[in-house]
Amino acid sequence: MRRSVFIAGLAVALVLGMGVFGTGRKGSVTSAQEKMSTMDVKIDNFSFGPVTLTVPVGTTVTWTNRDDIPHTIVSTDDPKAFKSKVLDTDEKFSFIFSKAGTYPYFCSIHPKMTGKVIVQ
């Protein structure tokens, strides 16, 4: 569905000329980014909240450590999709999810702490 809309758009652009198409496209991408939400995951009591977070493609997810103990956010995929440095209390880590998929992760210091981000 999406693809056919895009192809239709391209055809119109060819008619109208590349200059107009380029400007219009740029504008639509910017507004799409503005709409994309930033989602938060809080670390409290040695757990990720929410444990499973579902977000649209392009979302920036920010983790905040609210424990008195340091934690990390490390992808369990091979190769790792993302890996934070050690977050001390109130420190944050952000990652932009630009591709759809399921991203399981854990705290490499306390491996019982696991979570996942589903990107649709």
Partner: protein, 322 residues
Amino acid sequence: MSDKKKDELLHDHNNDGVNRRGFLKCMAWAGTGAFCVMQGGVLKSYSLSRFSELNTAEANGELSFVQISDSHMGFNKPANPDVAGTLKAAVDKINGLAAEPEFMLHTGDISHLSKPEEFDTVDQILKSAKPKDVFYVPGEHDVLNDDGKQFLERYGKGSKGAGWYSFDKKGTHFMGLVNVMNLKAGGLGTLGHEQLEWMEDDVKHLKASTPIVVFAHIPLWSVYPEWGWGTDDSAQALAYLKKFGSVTVLNGHIHQTMQKVEGNVTFHTAASTAFPQPQPGKADSPGPMKVPAEQLRSVLGITDVNYVQGQHALAVVDSSLA
């Protein structure tokens, strides 16, 4: 049941990790100090008030060393804003022991965030301890961000792999193990294949009568897996030690004292010198436990171990910093 019988820890026959009666008894001791003597695999325990019932030869064994753990230098939250102060208090306690320990074991989490200055501070404070030799194993807080490179450079000279090693003191064989590296999502502590192979080889030539002391950060018994308090492949490690009549396992990580006896093996965890953690399952998480300031030192401590040659006994004494 005689008084003596009543204070003995019972064997755990179902291998489920925690002997309930023994566990409860040990928890009751936490912060008050306990004295345990292992003879022929049976841990005989005495509260410190019954300490005088033991003779001096038992209390002042031929091999004496002290274990400290979880100094978390750099931690500055309300549970203890002065971890340097309490580590100094631990050193004072060590320097005041009747039988001077020959050396110290530090069972990890030396630092809180693996920062060079945190390790430096601990090194500086431990310099004032009478025992000059310190044997270290890393905690997960000591290997942050660099896969343990700094730890190895500072404390791992002559060690194998991620920092494991063994040495002998007066006929007792000591093994320092590393179970905080390459942790897997959803799992517990890990020793790993390479270390297990080394262990098997390391003890192969020892006589079954050799007393063994194993020390590592995360408990090598299943204290409370829900909080990650255990080691996934510890059963394999312990299988290599089956032939030995006396095996003592010393761990840290859980910031409270706990004991368990299983066959020939006595497991013991030491208190932290920095902050206490809750009893298993008694809080939402294993995070630092805030106690009233005046009570803090009563829940921190050191562990003093004496080995009496010829008696096949290792005595483990926990003392609080209060």
